[in-house]
Amino acid sequence: MSDPLLSLRQVTYAYRSRRRTEAVLHGIDLDIEAGAFVSLVGPSGSGKTTLLNLMGLLERPTSGTIHFEGRDVGAMKDRARAALAREAIAFVFQAYHLLGDLTVADNVAEPLRYQKVPADERAARAADALKRFGLQDKAHRYPTELSGGQQQLVGVARAIAARPRLLLADEPTGNLHSSQGEVVMESLRTAHEDDGVTVVHVTHSDRWVAYGARTVELLDGHVLRDSVHHAS
């Protein structure tokens, strides 16, 4: 059996302030197989977003190890970790986090600029990503001119255009009306199915949990349940 895409072993994470240390995650053991679509659920404060940030290499664990494609990312220097994250991982945020000064097309192309993709190719890949989600006519608009759902689709397009192997979505439908949410979740499914991207998304909604074939439930920083089911 091949290595999982992402493997966490005895991962703990604690926020340290001057006065106290607050543990958020306790001894997490978790493997994410390549090509999986995982739903991460749990009540507020259970550690979902922190776990997602650790998976996305935005944070280092307080203890434990994280392997990405078999490589121990804890042993990597910051620059190498950043390069790995840039090349292999993409985020979709609840609050979209599009760059207001950039057009929709430029927003989608921005990660490619950091990947040093040539300008022509950047433009082509951004156009292609937007077209996939029916946003080609919005390419030259600015984010504030779009609806929330459209903005989140741009967020997904931005993530997809970077051709990541792991796509992490932190409550991507959290700010959206349910009908818009469905469009966004469908876009994630499309990315997963058409491009083979591994998706881990955080959600509070049972409706969106069903998009994943696997559900990991967190409670107070522990994995309470890890179940596999048939995606709807």
């Binding site: 996305g56 935005l58 994250a85 090349e87 993409a90 945020f93 986090h97 760059l99 000064d101 600029r113």
Partner: protein, 797 residues
């Protein structure tokens, strides 16, 4: 990548017009001030840098003792025979030239007559040693007496297009002696402006000096030497000192024994401490001072930009988090922010150059020199590129580093803490306003002193007092002129005298043993500043009599016998009852008939010393007239017309005494004006920064203000809340800036014997002004934020 960084930076610049405008206007103003001051400073530093082999060109100076037991004083003009008699004994002197000047002689050529302010006497080697080119004639001919070289513009004025070589012109260097004829033997290019001595006419030194005619070495001249290659100036100066001492020992009546120095010509304009300069020179202290002002303004502008950029960090932290989350590396972010900084700096520079181009003509007039941007000089452009790079890195580097190190997780969740950055920002604001306090306090201090020197009672009335330089013009017609002038409607009274306040006066001394009331056995001299004048002198100047009487036309016996002293002289002599006291013996004995209150005969840097006015109606070198205020121009025209009839051979050369005294403070006035102008600009720049910070602070506290308003806070309390921090920062800035300003002003004022005392009030006013300006700036935003709809504020948040 670089292009896309710049594209992004430009987009960022355009998307934040308010912030961008504040940054650019602030930086551009600072840069424009710096460029203007730099042009002035570079011009000052460029003096005497173009002479051939200029690095080996020195002026010979000596330390002379001012009287027995007096202080040593450095003189720029040494005894002229030194070059003939002593220099040959000293090795290493490759070339020598002696130069001196005449005080605005009158030049006559045919019907043309004018005063030439730039008139030199020099030896032929002048054209070899200095950066002055002959365009016609042979310099060697300047060895002959009564020859001269004209500058091209002067030749054009005097002879038009005709060839001036071989033509003659008349020059009267001393109004007391007849004009002399000179032959034009050459034409030179107009001398470069940046020379410490300049002439439009260079006459032969031999016209005024012949070694054999000066057995007691009376004549002095500025003497320049070019040393041989690899000759050490220190050793040569020591050899000269020894040679002078040998000559002094050989013939006592010739050389003064004095330490001799060789001063590089490049140091003369700014660093000379010598007396007898041919023309007034600059002062390196002002170069340093203005450079410091430029640096302070640039620092304020740079801090502004840095502060605004980091203050925006809170707003941009989320953007940084997103960029990091989508793959941006730290280096890429640093480059992006530096690109933004570069765009702001480059645009600021462009605007600054436009501002400079607009201000230059005015600035040049102000600085009394032609000024232009050296657009053709590669060094200028290199310097500008350097400034852009340094400012981009300096002002943009810190915000770039701060922002690029923001943790993406905390910035995305909105919990990024900028506490340490806030502290840095506060420190920078304090630094900025401390500099502002210094500039404002120094401006007030300097303006106060200028007001003091111009408004302190001089002890006489210089208003509407016309002074005519008569020279020998009135030697036979003085009384007729006086009577005729007093018939003119606008003339109240006329006095003829040997000198006038503010001009060179004489010195008269008596052996202490010959002064009544002094210890008869005491050695030494009692020295007075000496005026010789007619009976109207005291009245025309409105001198206040403290004791005794003034001179009277009706007492011819007073002539040469009666004197009036000032109070300083009486104090100096220790006399309780000076009237009737005598000084001197025999024919030279004088009697004190009156005492006048002290009055200034020099500027406020000089203490009022003992002064003696001797009654002498034959002293007619100057005519002083008290004019009535109505129709001054008409009166002046009538006086000039009268002069033309009484002294047709002499130029009418006049000035008003109050203007003459005001002109004594030209350098101080310039410093005051520069401080005022650049302080205002510095305040403007600092306020732009504070305005931006207040705008951002109000924005960031929208939610807090909304909550406070909902809880019942009044507008006043909210404005107070938002302004409190600025007030505290300015107060700290005051505590730092005020002592610095005090130290500067104390030093600056030390040259004045009479000065406005430095009071705490001056510094408090500076602090209050700074605080007022800062609060006015901040309260605009505070008021807007405090009066905004709280519900909308909360909803927006």
């Amino acid at each position: 990548m670089l292009l896309s960084d710049l594209r992004l930076a430009l987009r960022q610049f355009i998307s934040q017009p308010g912030y961008s405008a504040l940054s650019v206007i602030g930086l551009a103003t600072g840069l424009a001030c710096c460029v203007l001051i730099a042009l002035f400073v570079l011009d000052e530093l460029s003096f005497d840098t173009t002479h051939p082999e200029g690095d080996r060109l020195y002026r010979v100076e000596q330390d002379w003792q001012s009287g027995p037991g007096g202080d040593l004083q450095r003189v720029a003009a040494i005894q002229a025979p030194t070059a003939d008699r002593i220099f040959p004994e000293v090795p290493g002197l490759e070339a020598v030239v002696r130069v001196t000047s005449a005080d605005s002689p009158v030049v006559t050529a045919g019907d043309l007559r004018f005063k030439e302010d730039r008139f030199l006497y020099a030896e032929p080697a002048f054209f070899d040693l200095f950066d002055v080119d002959l365009v016609a004639g042979d310099a060697a001919e300047l060895a002959r007496p009564q020859t001269l070289v004209l500058s091209e513009p002067t030749a054009a004025v005097v002879f038009g297009e005709a060839d001036p070589i071989g033509r003659e012109i008349e020059i009267r260097t001393d109004p007391r002696v007849p004009a002399e004829t000179f032959e034009v033997i050459g034409v030179m290019r107009e001398m470069p402006r940046a020379l410490h001595l300049r002439g439009d006419i260079v006459a032969s030194f031999a016209s005024i000096y012949r070694a054999e005619a000066d057995p007691v070495w009376f004549q002095t001249a500025s003497t320049y030497v070019r040393l041989g290659e690899d000759v050490d100036p220190q050793t040569t100066a020591a050899s000269l000192t020894e040679a002078v001492a040998r000559q002094s020992a050989r013939e006592e009546q010739t050389a003064f024994e004095a330490e001799t120095h060789l001063v590089p010509v490049t140091d003369i304009h700014l660093r000379s401490t010598a007396a007898n300069e041919i023309t007034p020179q600059g002062d390196i202290r002002y170069v340093w001072l203005f450079s410091a002002i430029a640096l302070v303004i640039l620092l304020i502008a740079g801090i502004n930009y840095m502060n605004l950029a980091t203050a925006r960090g809170a707003r941009r932290a989320r953007e940084v988090g997103v960029r990091k989350a989508i793959g941006a590396g730290k280096g890429q972010l640093v480059r992006q922010f530096l690109s933004e900084s570069f765009v702001v700096t480059a645009l600021s520079l462009v605007l600054a150059l436009l501002l400079v181009a607009v201000a230059l003509p005015w600035f040049g007039t102000w600085m009394s020199r032609p000024m232009a941007l050296p657009l053709g000089a590669p060094g200028f452009w290199a310097a500008l590129v350097g400034v852009v790079v340094v400012l981009s890195l300096g002002a943009g580097g810190y915000p770039a580093l701060v922002l690029s190190t923001v943790r993406p997780v905390s910035s995305l969740s909105g919990t990024a803490r900028m506490t340490s950055r806030t502290l840095v920002r506060k420190v920078l604001v304090v630094g900025q306003f401390a500099a502002t306090v210094v500039l404002i306090a120094c401006t007030l201090g300097i303006l106060r002193q200028l007001h003091f020197v111009q408004n302190t009672r001089l002890g006489f009335d210089p208003e509407q007092t016309l002074v005519i330089e008569a020279g020998a013009a009135l030697s036979s017609s003085g009384e007729a002129f006086r009577q005729a002038a007093e018939q003119i409607d606008g003339v109240e009274q006329v006095s003829l005298a040997f000198s006038a306040p503010g001009l060179t006066s004489g010195v008269r001394f008596f052996p202490a043993s010959e002064v009544e009331g002094q210890d008869g056995t005491e050695a030494g001299l009692i020295i007075f500043e000496w005026f010789k004048a007619d009976a109207a002198f005291a009245e025309v100047l409105n001198l206040q009599l403290a004791a005794g009487r003034s001179f009277s036309w009706d007492r011819p016996s007073d002539i040469g016998r009666s004197v009036i002293l000032n109070e300083a002289a009486v104090r100096n002599l220790g006399w309780d009852d000076p009237i009737g006291k005598t000084m001197g013996t025999g024919e030279g004995q004088v009697e004190v008939v009156g005492v006048v209150e002290d009055f200034h005969v020099a500027d406020m840097r000089t203490e009022i010393g003992p002064l003696l006015i001797e009654y002498d109606p034959e002293a007619r070198d100057y005519a002083m007239m008290k004019l009535r205020s109505a129709d001054l121009a008409g009166t002046l025209a009538e006086v000039e017309a009268l002069w033309a009839t009484v002294a047709p051979d002499y130029l009418f050369d006049s000035f008003f005494l109050d203007d003459h005294f005001a002109a004594m403070y030209r350098a101080e006035r310039l410093v005051g004006q520069m401080f005022l102008a650049f302080s205002l600009l510095a305040v403007l720049v600092a306020c732009l920064g504070l305005f931006g910070l207040a705008m951002l602070a109000a924005e960031q506290r929208t939610k807090e203000i909304g909550i406070r308003k909902v809880l019942g806070a009044s507008v006043t309390s909210l404005v107070g809340l938002l302004s409190r921090e600025s007030a505290a920062l300015v107060s700290i800035a005051f505590l730092i800036g005020a002592p610095m300003a005090y130290l500067f002003l104390r030093d600056w004022l030390s040259v004045f014997v009479y000065r406005a005392e430095l009071s705490a009030g001056l510094f408090l006013v500076s602090g209050a002004l700074t605080l007022l300006i800062a609060l006015a700036t901040v309260s605009t935003h505070a008021l807007r934020a405090a009066t905004a709809d709280p519900i909308r504020a909360l909803r927006a948040e």
